[in-house]
Every structure is written in structure tokens, then in C-alpha cells.
Amino acid sequence: MLFCHITSQIPSDPYQDLLQEKGGGGFPYLVFMDEEGNVLAKHEGSRDAAGFEQTLGTAQAFIDLKKKAESGDKAAKKELVLKQIELGHIKPEDADAKLKELGDLTPEEQAKVNGVLANAQVTALFSSFKTQPTPEQLLDLGKKLAEMQKAGRVPTEPQIQMNFWALIMDYAESTKDVALFEEGLTTLKAMLSGNPQAKEFLEQKEKALEAMKAGGGK
């Protein structure tokens, strides 16, 4: 069945934070949920019948995985917890305790968990502003994101990652951190190459980098 949630910024409208609660970082955001409102699958493919059918298949696979884990299958239990962290069923602050119950994670599993927890942390930071933040607040946010990046906590969700690096680059430009700015620009160029709408943005950033390297700064 079809549900459309509209973020209206009308104070009397309920559930105005539902997008962030369900792991969304921007619009449009399409997911399959169960009757409790738990996200079972996020739609990232093509927006046509075939694409939606594929995501429905992913949602069904989660339901099947849950049944298998509940029947006692150890491997399924581990996979379920990892998936629940990814889908936001388990809060980042509770993830560590749940993961300890699973025993050792492979490097790939650990990397996946790190990315998912970073997605959740960045989304929470964005959601902490109820109105449009000031330039100073955005720079402060950029500083926090730069600290996350330094600690190896980089989001993996593409839209979140783009916002993550854009704000870090603004912070890097303000503190004349050429290496950090360049790292952000390299990452965004790889993500946005072939996107004609990003051409002007990337060209502007290239010029800013040249100016920083020449010692010009802002």
C-alpha cells in the first residue's frame, strides 16, 4: 500500500522528522516498510516498475532473513543484526553492544558497519538544526565532519557523502587546509563526474583550490 509523507514545515503537522528517523538524507526518498514502520529496503535503483520490483524483492529477503534468524540460524542472526544497523532498526549508540554479541566481524563487515554508523551520525548532525543554519553554524558542522573524517568515520550513503564533503571543503577553505580541501574535491569529482549539473560547482572548487595553493585563500 502507498504512503506519501510530506515534510511541510507546518508546526502543527505531525511526524515532521520522519524522513530523518527513517534514514533519509534528502528528497525524494523511497522505502518499503513493514506495518510497524520499520524500513525493510531503501530504493536506490531506477524509478520504474522493474526497479521497484527489485527493491520489493530486497524487502522480502529481509523478512525471510528475520524468520531464519528467529529459527536459530547463527549466520542469519549475524547477517540480521548487520542489516538492522544498516536500516536504522538499531540505534548507533546500541550498535556496539549488539555487535559484541555476534563475535568477530570480518574486515568487510566492520567496514560496512563503520559506514552505516557514519551515515546515521551525519544524518543526526544535519537533523539537529530545526531551522536553516547560519554560515557560522555550517562551518562548525564542517569542523565536526572533518573530525569524523580524520577518525575514519566516513558515510557511505551517496547523498549523505556529498553533503559531508561539501561542508568539509567549506571548513577546509576557511582554515586554509589545502590537503583536506583537495581530498574532498577529488572525492566529489569521482562521485559527480558525468553529471552536467555539477560542472560549474566543480570548476568553482578547482579555482578555489588553485587560489589556496597559491596562498591566496579567501
Binding site: 500500500m1 502507498l2 504512503f3 506519501c4 509523507h5 510530506i6 515534510t7 511541510s8 514545515q9 507546518i10 503537522d13 505531525p14 511526524y15 520522519l18 524522513l19 527513517k22 533519509g24 538524507g25 534528502g26 528528497f27 525524494p28 526518498y29 523511497l30 522505502v31 518499503f32 516498510m33 513493514d34 506495518e35 510497524e36 514502520g37 525493510l40 521497484f52 520489493l56 524487502a59 544535519f126 538544526f129 531551522t131 536553516q132 543554519p133 554560515p135 555550517l138 562551518l139 564542517g142 553533503n163 561539501a166 561542508l167 571543503m169 567549506d170 577553505e173 576557511s174 560547482f201 568553482q204 572548487k205 579567501k218
Partner: protein
């Protein structure tokens, strides 16, 4: 302080449009415009989260959720 286009774009994407100017539509009017979009007429859409979950329980169906916004319409 020179303000970055990047941060403006991110701010607009994440937090939406600038404060309302005189003569601009109200948030309520923007929401009404959103609800009048063509796709709502093509199928039965729930816009109430509580009712959607109730219906999903009753019908034993999954919910396909489309998150959108009206404030920067």
C-alpha cells in the same frame, strides 16, 4: 565572510528555502499545492502515517513510502 555556494546548496537541499517574503505563499498553501499533484489521483495514497500503519496491519501488506516536501515548492 564570503559565503560558499557549496554550503548554500547543501543548506537549501537539507533545510529548505529561505524565509518567506511578503507575497510568497504560506507553508499551508504550498502543502495544498503538493497534495493537488497528479500522482495522488492515480492511486490511493495515505498521507497520515498512523493510518498507513493501521491499514498495513489490517491488510497484511507492506508499505511503499515516498518521502517528499512541500516547503520549497
Amino acid at each position: 565572510m564570503k559565503w560558499s555556494l557549496a554550503a548554500c546548496l547543501v543548506a537549501a537541499l537539507v533545510w529548505g528555502a529561505a524565509p518567506r517574503l511578503q507575497g510568497e505563499e504560506t507553508m499551508e498553501q504550498k502543502k495544498e499545492k503538493k497534495l493537488a499533484e497528479e500522482f495522488f489521483k492515480k492511486a490511493t495514497w495515505f498521507t497520515d502515517y498512523d493510518k498507513a500503519r493501521e491499514e498495513a496491519k489490517k491488510s497484511s501488506k507492506l508499505i511503499f513510502a515516498y518521502f517528499t516536501r512541500s516547503y520549497s515548492y
